[in-house]
Symmetry: D2
Subunit: 357 residues, 4 copies
């Protein structure tokens, strides 16, 4: 790609926004030339705006330290400066602003939860349901948007089991699953979880997380039905979501039942062969392996496996029979990379490769 | 109880043994007048033997600091000095030595796993299956033991869900359950889990723990059948056991299905009314409430709830529908109190109250 | 004490306030019959006001669950209901409100930093400078307060070394000390320190803490000079204050030099003999031993030693020569008990015993 | 460098050895073609030998997975296969074996403590005392070694403050320092520190660590005096060494006094200009900046700063006046990279660049 595509980041100073900035700093396809945040940061350089609240290891990327922060209300400016925007807005403002950007002709690739259940907005994990992007022209036509559209990604909690389950669903038909997640504190942003609440502790509750973990998969496994995406209502998921004293990396213990019970070798073979995104696309953020199965009896572990494939690979292990459903396994993914900014960027890359951007 | 009963502690210098010593130091019924350990400690005072490796808060109880440590081979001495022994022996020596003590006429109340699957050895949680103690005379007769016998308690991992499940099983018939545990590092003893392995991490595997968590409940829910205790083979349990960075307190996420689906109110009422040990016994270590249900959306939590009922109460919360089985809930118990020494002492108290000691 | 003294707690819903409530629930001398907080909590029962944000193990004490929360503006009501108040107010409101209560004739025993450097307000650790309370009548006369006065306690960071240093200062003259603290997260209140900031980390900075750790000791070691307390300007303290991933318990590494270098035995003997509060007072919160020296090479440790003397004892260890100053040692105290509410309550008890209340 | 130099790693399966393997896998100058360990591992491939006990993120480097492990007794084989060896041997065997390798004509670049106080063995931090390598021919002559020699590196605890102190010592003369370290658990190897001992805790003691932290700097600042390196006895260091719940990265709080008190700007300028290793050497593991000073008030922090310069840079911050000595600052370095294998490799590179290998 000779000329990089100009992109913007909305909500660039928050924790998810910082991850976008960090991952986009040397991106081979994208150049960040617009960052927007609340009025508190507007007018400052990005370096000034995040001073004292930059939460990543290493420093603010040098190439973006001096870019001036705009407000998210400067939509016209965004339209002039960039081809599309990544949204890391908080849910409370995302609904309104993402639509305003789309109306103004700016495609929005969002990390926010605001539009995940909006029926004509595709919620995409590229390895699974990139064909849901076919709804984009329908979305535009229905809403009268000319160039703008909204695409979202699902919640971080389900990335650790959704891809391995989908790979098996294609062949054996996913019927039901009982899933217990052990989620890292970075999933709550910063300041997020108080140290007093989580040190030497487990919190067996995360507001709204079980609902997302149970419902979002049904849309991802759903299909385009006229002008909307219909959920796959045949699948049943029961999620127990816990916060544990881990910095990054969500782990999931999965018990699963299929329409047709596969053999153990069929499962391992399916995961091994799973290619993820249609091989014709060669996306820069796509890991060489979408799923890695580890043979050791005690893997995956968040600290050892979260960085597999630069944080974009889902690592699974411990496949074994279940006494109640068919099989059990453990899945793991990096919640702030695959589960947040990295997943959003992969969506952006896919949209470029498929010609939507 | 006017005169205290003399008891011994086998394996008194290990971590479980230290918990026994700590909990027995001011026990209203029992007086520790014999402690045994490996030859390394023999001849020393207990205070000397555990110097530099006493792992509990507070100091070695003053009343036991100067007791001389015997070897576990001094069985005759044990018989002279105490009415029965608590065994905190490691599994590798427990099988042989617990039988040798029983042969010598010394009842053994054990914390070890060695005899948990021995068919004529009762594995008891007093609130659930105290009637399994009826097998003691059969055990003695079969083996030709005169005064000695062996009683064991189950693994720590299942204490956080077994009592709440049993309370419901009595009324609604337990059919199957998928259970994910998040277990504290103290469950592995000392030095146990390396800090390098568990800080900022989850280990989704504990050697042998899932098998214990799945099989031991079947014996606990079983019945005396001639000269053995037969498992309840109708119940199916699938356990995912994880180690998490928590010091004390095992948490369990439970999805459960019954023969007859109860209402939510029936479940809460059952737990509220559950009395545990037959009210005619007034055991000193028995908590006022065997089960406490917390209404807050984010409880139980190990750091906040493990000490309920002096560590002997099981705390449950988050009862809600399950999309796959009938209901979901979270259970928690203190693994080194209820799940180890405290549970053993409660067994000892029950044996006294029922006239076996 | 036949009739308990009615007391109030200002700022009762915050974390320090919760500690006051917890420690005062069964106090032998005091009865909490007035609690005040911000208008957000006013009118609710205390149990309602702290629902979902009670941060201590165990529940809200039953005896105080139903007391109605007043606003801190209801000063007249406080005067009617209680003999004096404990202030756990945040520093931003403490300065104004503590004076208003004193003006209204209500003695204030404060935990806040607002008046620590006010020259006529005594800052008291009972074991050290109870004689500074002699300034109370002077304070009242100067300010024209009739019954009211203000007494404060010092910052939590210095409790782990101040008492052991004072015991030696009496005999050998404290000259200078270099002190590095490793402070628990509970010292920052709730939510306080973000888990993302402190897990697998040390933060070598706590806003304002080094200044307090260096300056407050000079006042505590100072003397009444006319109508003010003059600092002891001969002593020099250099403090490095760090936040570490510990829940409760501040640890201090101390290098110290005296006017006259004592022998090691003199130091140990001095600590052993140190009686703390004048033996004629028998204060309920006063630990049996103000200072405990542990002989083990690796003590004190926060998790093992913070609860010594119900959290009111300072534990020291590792006394050894220093290559630069005279001696080195490690000190430890429980920051939310001795260092906060427990220290405030001890001040209240002392004021009663000395006849000021 | 066209042809890589063949090197061996002694003690390759332990934790320090694993770090050597990891850092040497793609080294531009060195090729590992000999690995030695205890007889337990001998004959296995390296991948087999560390199976289940590989403690680093990522996998065993593919290029070294299939190399056969030799015993450390196969000295002749080592001589045939490699130009020199890195020693990650445990201290108990290092003394004997390192000498045997040197006798056999194999230079030894050691991480072990065995020879740190041996007077004719240089203990080198390249940025500080590379000129101590001048003793190598003297060492060889005295001992009658033909090609072999021994060079060691100092303990990990002092890397976080020694380079910044040395930079100042050159100009202002280091007189004395009081230093408190907060050291990561990885410094104790694996399994090393038990999670039960360090979670929610600080251990204010590490066996032998304070002695090393105080004495090794004197040798590093010493000079060659005939056939030995004489300590700089004018410098006094007092060290308090603590273990804290941090995975990697040792932090040090330093109070320091100089012969001539510099200004703050002189210190910052000195650190900024400090070039470390003589610029004529361009060592692959040498960081671009030996010392980085961070301006933020709360840095350095282990989790955020340990990876600076690929773990080879020392990060300092918080320079401020000391009330007792001249200045205070905080230093930090990565204990398993700069403080162990990375420091050893840098020594190896320096020896090559200076013509000793």
């Amino acid at each position: 790609m000779k000329d990089k595509i100009n992109v913007g980041v909305l909500g660039a100073t928050g924790m998810v926004g910082q991850n976008y900035i960090s991952l986009l700093a040397d991106h081979p396809w994208f150049r960040v030339n617009h960052v927007a945040a609340s009025s508190r940061s507007a007018g400052k350089t990005y370096g000034e705006a995040v001073r004292g609240r930059w939460h990543l290891t290493g420093d603010v990327p040098g190439s973006l330290r001096d870019i001036t922060v705009s407000t998210i209300d400067e939509i016209e400016l965004a339209r002039e400066k960039c081809t599309f925007v990544f949204s890391a807005l908080g849910s409370h403002v995302a609904r309104e602003y993402e639509e305003r950007y789309a109306v103004a002709g700016i495609p929005v690739v969002s990390n926010a939860s605001a539009h995940r259940s909006t029926p004509d907005v595709p919620m995409v994990i590229p390895e699974i349901n990139y064909h849901h992007l076919d709804i984009i022209p329908i979305q535009q036509r229905t809403r009268g948007w000319v160039r703008g559209f909204i695409v979202v990604k699902p919640n971080c909690s389900l990335q650790s089991y959704m891809t391995p389950l989908y790979a098996l669903h294609e062949k054996f038909g996913l019927k039901q699953a009982v899933i217990t997640t052990m989620q890292a504190v970075s999933g709550a942003g910063h300041p997020g979880v108080s140290s007093l609440d989580i040190m030497d502790n487990v919190i067996p509750f995360i507001q709204g997380e079980e609902e997302k973990s149970e419902n979002e998969p049904l849309k991802i496994l759903g299909s385009i039905d006229g002008s909307v995406i219909s959920n796959n209502e045949k699948v049943k998921i029961s999620a127990h979501c816990n916060r544990v004293p881990v910095i990054h990396g969500h782990t999931a213990c999965v018990s699963v039942e299929f329409e047709r019970k596969p053999t153990r070798d069929e499962i391992l073979g399916t995961w091994k062969d799973f290619r993820g995104i249609s091989p014709k696309y060669d996306l820069p953020s796509s890991p060489r392996r979408a799923i890695i199965y580890r043979e050791e009896p005690d893997r995956p572990q968040p600290r050892l496996d979260r960085d597999a494939g630069n944080g974009m690979t889902v690592v699974v292990g411990r496949l074994r029979d279940c006494n109640v459903l068919h099989y059990r396994f453990v899945g793991l993914s990096h919640n702030t990379v695959r589960g947040a900014a990295g997943g959003g960027i992969l969506n952006g890359e896919l949209l470029v490769a498929m010609g939507y951007l």
